[in-house]
Amino acid sequence: MTWDWNFVFQILPDLLVGVWYTILITIGSAAIALIGGLLLAIFENVSTRAGRLVVRFFLGLFKGVPILVLLYFGYYLLPQFGLTLPAMAIGIAVLGLVYAAFCSEVYRGGLITIPAGLRDASVALGLSPYVMWRRVYVPLMIQRASPALINYVLTLFRQTSFLFAIGVPVLIGKAQVAGYQSFRYLEPFTVAGALYLALNIPFLFLLSRFKTKYA
């Protein structure tokens, strides 16, 4: 079987729709992951021993179970409780929660490198805990965590391909449909792979530049 450019151009619009979905899902779940991870890290820091155990349990759950199993779990389980969400919402939520667990570890790593003197200084200045977190700790945490966080967002982008398992038309899902409709698997997957690379490698390159500059 040889490479057929006509076929490539025929399926390209469909694949680009997949790219659009992929980007949309990445943005949605990255927002959940980055904000949720920050909140989890703060909550773990300020909560009591019991609260910390609960957070640890959820982190272990989301980090120890494959995304695929969690996706199927959400997809088949929620309707049994009468909650019928579109597959895409479930996918965004699951990816977001899993990566919130990963991101919270990163934020926590940033938090423990902040010297204790800052807390003392905030107390001495009479800052309320809210202001202390909002103005002192969170900016520092974000600054220290940002290279690792960007890395996770890029990983998240690659992992969106799992969502095709529950029928979300992400790039790889579109490629598979194009493949089995025409029994030509060479072009759809090659083009899909090239698109993933084209969207990913510039950011990986920028990230490595960013890391050498700031870390």
Binding site: M1, G60, L61, K63, G64, V65, P66, I67, L68, V69, L70, Y72, F73, Y76, L77, Q80, R158, Q159, T160, S161, F162, F164, A165, I172, A175, Q176, G179, R184, Y185, L186, P188, F189, T190, A192, G193, Y196, L197, N200, I201, L204
Partner: protein
């Protein structure tokens, strides 16, 4: 839950398949990253760029895309073999693991003080022997803990092999779900098994860490892994 446990023999087969795929691909990734990592730091620009290209190329395409490409598209190219689902999945997972592991190996090697390299050079050791006899034995105690995290991730990545028809845990779980409609219990069991597998994987790597040359040497000399600060040494006195 009872209905699911009746299918335990099938689930057990799936578990064995998952463990087999995970073991093969983690081993493959370890070997691959030990090759790619040093190549990535080669003194020749060509080799370095080649290794960088391979690493970014494999990493940039997601695991699923790579797997589908190798399984569906590769046989369409001339002179390419049609791989069985198992071989294709182990190959792809190993390559992806190796491309992530190469960065870990690189980090570990970079952490070795430059003086060690100069000393080996002064002793007349070649590059390969410097790497295998001096740098890697020390770097391994940095590499292995990070690699343990990657290995636990790889156990989870094995779940994608069900898409090309390897009868692993997810595949078996899905057929049990369609047979019994016990969705909740099937996925609770699957989640628990995967969680336990990750946990066991980390335990195994903790054992491996115990037998690394540097850690062993440190235990023999009863030295702490971090050097004692000078001020502390003077006040406490170093115990013989």
């Amino acid at each position: 839950m009872k209905a699911v446990l009746e299918y335990w023999p099938a689930l057990y087969q799936g578990l064995l398949t998952t463990i087999w795929v995970a073991m093969c691909s983690i081993t493959g990734a370890a070997v691959g990253s030990l090759i790619l990592g040093p190549l990535r730091m080669s003194s020749s620009r060509g080799v370095r760029l080649f290794a960088l290209f391979i690493i970014e190329f494999i990493r940039g395409a997601s695991a699923l895309v790579a797997l589908f490409w190798v399984f569906y598209s590769l046989p369409s190219m001339p002179h390419m073999p049609r791989l069985s689902p198992m071989v294709a999945s182990i190959l792809v997972l190993s390559l992806i693991g190796a491309s992530y592991g190469a960065e870990i190996v690189r980090g570990g090697i970079l952490a070795i003080p430059r003086g060690q390299l100069d000393a080996s050079h002064a002793l007349g050791l070649g590059k390969f022997r410097t790497l295998t006899k001096v740098v890697l034995p020390q770097a391994l105690s940095q590499i292995v803990p990070s690699f343990a995290g990657l290995a636990a991730d790889m156990v989870k990545w094995t779940s994608i092999v069900s898409f090309v028809g390897v009868r692993d845990l997810v595949y078996v779980g899905d057929s049990i779900r369609t047979a019994t409609y016990e969705t909740v219990s099937v996925y609770v069991v699957l989640g628990a098994i995967y969680w336990a597998l990750c946990f066991i994987c980390e335990l195994i790597f903790q054992c491996v860490e115990h037998f690394l040359p540097l850690n062993k040497a440190l235990r023999v000399t009863k030295c702490r892994s971090q050097p004692v600060p000078r001020a502390q040494m003077q006040t406490e006195g170093v115990k013989p």
